[in-house]
Subunit: 311 residues, 2 copies
C-alpha cells in the first residue's frame, strides 16, 4: 500500500507494461514450444479472473509438470527473460464487472505488474466468452499462443477485442462538465464517457457522446492520453472539448446529475478535501489524470490556456 499523495499512489492503472510481447514467438510453434519448456517459464497465478497478490507483487509460479501449452496464453517475456503464461479458464466467465480484487491490483502491486495483470484479464475473459465461432456456431480453439482463435469448421480466425471508449471533459468559460451515474458511490462525479461506434472518428465520438448525454454541442476536441481498462477490454481515450454554451439537457437514463465545476473545485476534489464540490474518481482511473491535466492548464486568472488557437 502507498500513501495517498505518494507518486506510486497516482499511477494510471493497468498502463506501463514492461513485457516484450514477442509477436515472433506467438506465430512460431517451435519457438513457442521452447518458451513453454523453458525452466524460466512462469505462470501468472489467478483465481478465476482475479489476481493472486502476495507481499505487494503478483504471484508467479513455475508451470505445472503436466501443463499443456494449448491451455495457456503467452503474455510475453519479462525483463528477466522469463516467458510469462496464464492458463485459460475452464468455466465461462462473466468478466465484465470489475471485482474489488481486480481493481485492487491497480494499486497493490507495481504499475507494470498491474499492466501485466490487466492484459491477462482482458485476454482470458475474451477467450472465455468466445469459445464458439461467431461465423458458424462451431467450437473454435486458441491459436497463436492465445492471441487468436481459429475455427476448424469454417476456417474463420478471430482476434481479441479492444473496445475504444472516449472519456472527456467539455470545457466552458473556465469550468468543466462533470456527471454521475445512478449506480455510483455518493458524491462521485467524473468525466462523461461512451463507446466509439463504427463509422466515426474519435473526435466525432466525443462530440456525439457529450450531446447525447448532456445536450451540449462542442467543438475543438483535443486528445490528452489513453489507458487500457481490463473490464473487460476497453481502451480509454481521454479528450477535452470546448462547449458552445453551458445549457444542459441530460439523458436521465444514463446520467443522474451533471454540473459545471471550476478549477478550484476540481483541485479540491483531486486533493481529496472534505469541502470539495464532488468526490473525484481514484487516481488509477484516467478520469483523475484528465482532470489533473485540465487544472494544470488553468492559469492563476482562472483562464484556460489555449492549446490550439486555430481550433
Amino acid at each position: 500500500m502507498h500513501g495517498r499523495n505518494s507518486p506510486e499512489s497516482q499511477l494510471l492503472g493497468y498502463a506501463g507494461g514492461r513485457l516484450d510481447r514477442v509477436d515472433h514467438i506467438r506465430t512460431n510453434p517451435a519457438l513457442l514450444a521452447e518458451a513453454f519448456a523453458s525452466p524460466l517459464a512462469r505462470r501468472l497465478m489467478l483465481e478465476g479472473l482475479d489476481p493472486v497478490v502476495a507481499h505487494g507483487h503478483l504471484v508467479m509460479e513455475p508451470l505445472p509438470a503436466d501443463a499443456r501449452a494449448d491451455d495457456f496464453v503467452l503474455l510475453g517475456v519479462d525483463e528477466r527473460e522469463r516467458p510469462i503464461f496464464a492458463e485459460l479458464l475452464v468455466e465461462a466467465a462473466d468478466g465484465f464487472l470489475a471485482s474489488p480484487r481486480s481493481r485492487g491490483a491497480a494499486t497493490e502491486v507495481p504499475g507494470h505488474e498491474a499492466a501485466l495483470y490487466g492484459a491477462a484479464r482482458s485476454l482470458l475473459s475474451w477467450h472465455a466468452r468466445h469459445r464458439f465461432c461467431s461465423v458458424c456456431g462451431q467450437r473454435s480453439a486458441p491459436a497463436k499462443a492465445g492471441w487468436s482463435r481459429k475455427c476448424g469448421a469454417c476456417g474463420a480466425e478471430h482476434f481479441p477485442r479492444v473496445d475504444p471508449v472516449v472519456i472527456m471533459l467539455a470545457e466552458h468559460d473556465g469550468r468543466v462538465l462533470l456527471g454521475r451515474q445512478h449506480s455510483w458511490p455518493e458524491g462521485r462525479y467524473s468525466a462523461l464517457a461512451g463507446f466509439v461506434e463504427p463509422g466515426e472518428t474519435l473526435e466525432e465520438a466525443v462530440m456525439r457522446e457529450i450531446r447525447e448525454e448532456a445536450g451540449v454541442a462542442t467543438h475543438g476536441v483535443s486528445y490528452v492520453m489513453s489507458q487500457p481498462w481490463p473490464f473487460p477490454s476497453s481502451l480509454m481515450i481521454a479528450c477535452i472539448a470546448r462547449a458552445d454554451d453551458d445549457a444542459l439537457k441530460l439523458d436521465e437514463t444514463e446520467i443522474e446529475h451533471a454540473f459545471w465545476c471550476d478549477a478550484a473545485g476540481v483541485r479540491a476534489a483531486l486533493a481529496g478535501e472534505e469541502g470539495a464540490p464532488f468526490v473525484a474518481p481514484p487516481p488509477m482511473a484516467v478520469a483523475w489524470h484528465l482532470l489533473r491535466h485540465w487544472v494544470e492548464g488553468v492559469g492563476p486568472d482562472g483562464q484556460v490556456a489555449d492549446p490550439d488557437p486555430s481550433a
Copy 2:
C-alpha cells in the same frame, strides 16, 4: 469525380458523417417502429457490401412495402429528418478486403455520404460474421435497431466491433520512416501500422509496433488525428513518435522495405511528382494526412518544430 488538387479530392475518407445516430430511438421499440413506418424513411441501397452510386451520390430508396424492421439496421436520421436504414445481408460476407467499389465511395460521393456508407459497411459485415453467439454457439438475433445482437439461448449481448489501429511516423533528424508491404502497388510507401492489443496504451502500441516492424526504439509519441476505416471496422489512430536512432532491423514477413525520407521527398510524393522518392497513399487514407501534417511542421531550415519541448 474531383480534380487531383481540389479540396474535395483531399478529404479524409469515411469521416465527417452527418447523421444523428439517435441512440434514444434504437432502444425504444415504439420510436423505432415509428421511424420504420415513416414515409420519409429511406433504404441505403447496397450490392452485398458494395455501395450503389448514381450521379455522384449514394442511392437511397423508400423502404419496400413488405419490409420487416428486424431485417434492417437504423443508421441514423439525416439532416432532412429521413430515418436511414440498411438491410442486413442474407449471406455471410467475407467483408475484410476493400473492393474497388467500396474504396471508390470515399471519393465518388460527398464526404458525409462516404462516412454513412462506411458505418453501414462496418455494421453489416459485423452482423454477417456474428450470426452465432460466441459464448454458447447458438444463433443470436439483431437487437437495438441493429446496434447489438442478443442470444436467446444464454442471454449474452454482443456489440459491434471497432478495432483500434495505430498508424504512425517515426521521426529522426528531419526525416520520417516509411515502409512498404509485399502486396502493395509498385513504389507505394506509407506509415507503419498495427492493431492495438489488450493491455496497452495507444502510445505503448505505437512504440511496440515500430520496434516490432522496423527494430527502432521511439519515445515522445504524439496523437495527430483519427479515421474510421470500414474494412471491416477499424479506427485508425495516427501518431508521430521520435526515434532514438535511425538504424533499421526490419521484420521481413511484414515489411518488404523501409527507408527514412526527408521533407522534400514527402512533399514531392504528396504532390504526386514523377521524380518523388515514393508513391504516396491516396488522400482518402489517414496516412496521407499524417504525412501532410508532418511536412507542415518542418521549417524552411529542415528542422522539425517541437510540439512539446518536455517530451
